[in-house]
């Protein structure tokens, strides 16, 4: 336990001498790794990001003495290797993934959880997020323009506001489905915010 803590402290120290900044860099790198792994179709992106962190931590004693450059670049190299390993594994594997690991939530379950989570939002935010998701194509673009005009904010600010609210809502829905699946003893399928994950992140910022 102490060894892991020491290694983790050393990793933070390597990222930045300032502990707070190091913590932020760690979060950014971990979230970035998850986004990359999700985008490249790596199975279980959260776990792969943890694995990348572990690999770098284990090599840290020699790295600190020999590596020159931004640590993010080293993490990127490790991520690339993990992506290749995942591809090779998928090419040779003949294992059948158990149903319980791939089962996706029922449509009605998703709708029910969404309705519950929407009710947890203040009425104006409920109204906003539902309004934002109306219409398609040109009509949607025009609608967003009008919404921004009504709120006297830029379209970019409107998009930012909608994105943040959606992240909150999605997190709530994920947790609701997780609870619901736990009740029926079915393992949940991963659901997340475009790969920004804490997943199985076992190294907590200290």
């Amino acid at each position: 336990m102490t060894i892991i803590k020491d290694l983790f402290d050393a990793l933070l120290e390597w990222l930045d001498p300032d502990r707070e900044k190091a913590g932020e860099r760690y979060e950014t790198i971990h979230a970035g790794l998850v986004r990359i792994f999700v985008s490249k179709g790596v199975s279980d992106a959260g776990h792969a990001a943890d694995e990348a962190m572990d690999r770098v931590m284990r090599r840290l004693p020699e790295l600190r003495a020999t590596y020159v450059g931004d640590p993010a670049k080293y993490f990127h190299g490790v991520a690339r290797n993990l992506i290749l390993e995942d591809r090779r594994r998928k090419e040779v594997t003949t294992d059948v993934v158990p149903d319980s690991l791939t089962k996706e939530p029922e449509k009605s379950e998703m709708a029910e959880c969404l309705a519950k989570c929407l009710k947890l939002l203040p009425p104006d935010k409920q109204e906003f997020i539902l309004d934002y998701h109306l219409y398609q194509g040109h009509a949607k673009i025009q609608h967003h323009r009008e919404m921004a005009g009504e709120l006297s904010i830029s379209e970019g600010a409107l998009r930012t506001r909608a994105h943040h609210l959606r992240v909150t809502l999605e997190k709530c829905v994920v947790e609701c489905i997780e609870r619901s699946m736990a009740k029926t003893k079915v393992a949940p399928n991963a659901i997340g915010n475009s790969g920004v994950g804490r997943g199985g992140n076992k190294h907590q910022k200290q």
Binding site: A31, H76, M110, G197
Partner: protein, 271 residues
């Protein structure tokens, strides 16, 4: 499988059009290795860029769920973007959210509290009051309008398979001596759908016009099917594209009715 959820909500900055398109290409598996590396390094170094990346993931997901992608675009989204279980689950969430929003919109249409003549009853009363000649002329006009609308609708959507290309404006006016982007046109494609990234200073225009110029200098206007603040999309029938280099010229219409050519060209080649 552990649950992957949002742990970090970071600020979404308003990035440039070119960066947004770079993210889209990456997400759809259309970018090259060097482009991938540059973007991935930024994801590992810049938390705000990660927020923008997520917002674009949301946009693509919503567009897919709303059925806005067709043909090859749709195949690209389904075969690449939605490869991971996280993205598929995200699409389920987006579908539920969009359904909920539409259902609520429908519910808000309320019946009038006091009974009053229906639209149909009012129309009947009005129609009966008109003379026969006027009724005949109105019926003929309605038939002509309906046929025209049907024709326009048919004319606007004849294409099923597109060759896709995204272009940024080049300072060069002519194709010669410039690296041209190839249009991946196959015999199966009915048309080319080309996304023209707008230059940063072009938000002063209320509308645009696009002109296609072939290697012999022949010009024709092309149809703009979509536009937003960052790009305009044009569709060019495959029959209008033979082998050779092409330039697209962009014209901006100002609110005072004046039109001006936006300097530079969007260059591509059909091989």
């Amino acid at each position: 499988m552990p649950l992957v959820i949002a742990a970090l909500v970071v600020g979404v900055t308003n990035i440039k059009n070119s960066e947004k398109n770079e993210i889209k290409r990456y997400l759809l598996g259309l970018s090259g290795e060097a482009e991938d590396e540059r973007l991935e390094l930024r994801l590992l170094m810049d938390a705000a860029f990660g927020g923008e990346f997520d917002a674009i993931v949301d946009e693509i997901t919503d567009q897919h769920v709303s059925g806005e992608f067709q043909g090859e675009e749709r195949e690209q989204v389904e075969g690449y973007f939605l490869k991971s279980p996280e993205r598929r689950a995200k699409a389920q969430f987006a579908a539920a959210l969009i359904d909920h929003a539409s259902a609520r919109e429908k519910k808000t249409v309320r019946l009038p509290a006091v009974a009053s003549p229906t639209l149909r009853e009012r129309w009947r009363a009005f129609w009966s009051a008109q003379n026969v000649a006027l009724r005949f002329a109105a019926t003929a006009a309605i038939v002509v309008i309906a046929v025209s609308l049907a024709y326009l609708n048919f004319r606007d959507k004849p294409y099923k398979s597109f060759a896709l290309l995204e272009l940024t404006i080049s300072n060069s006016e002519r194709a010669e001596g410039t690296q041209l982007k190839p249009l991946p046109l196959t015999p199966q494609n009915d048309a080319a759908k080309i996304f023209l990234d707008l230059p940063d200073q072009s938000n002063q225009y209320t509308s645009y016009q696009v002109e296609l110029v072939d290697r012999n200098g022949a010009r024709r206007n092309v149809e703009i099917t979509e536009r937003n603040q960052r790009a305009v999309t044009v569709i060019i029938p495959a029959s209008a594209l033979t082998r050779g280099s092409y330039a697209l010229h962009l014209f901006g219409n100002k609110s005072d009715g004046k039109q001006e050519r936006i300097p530079g060209s969007y260059l591509f080649v059909v091989q």
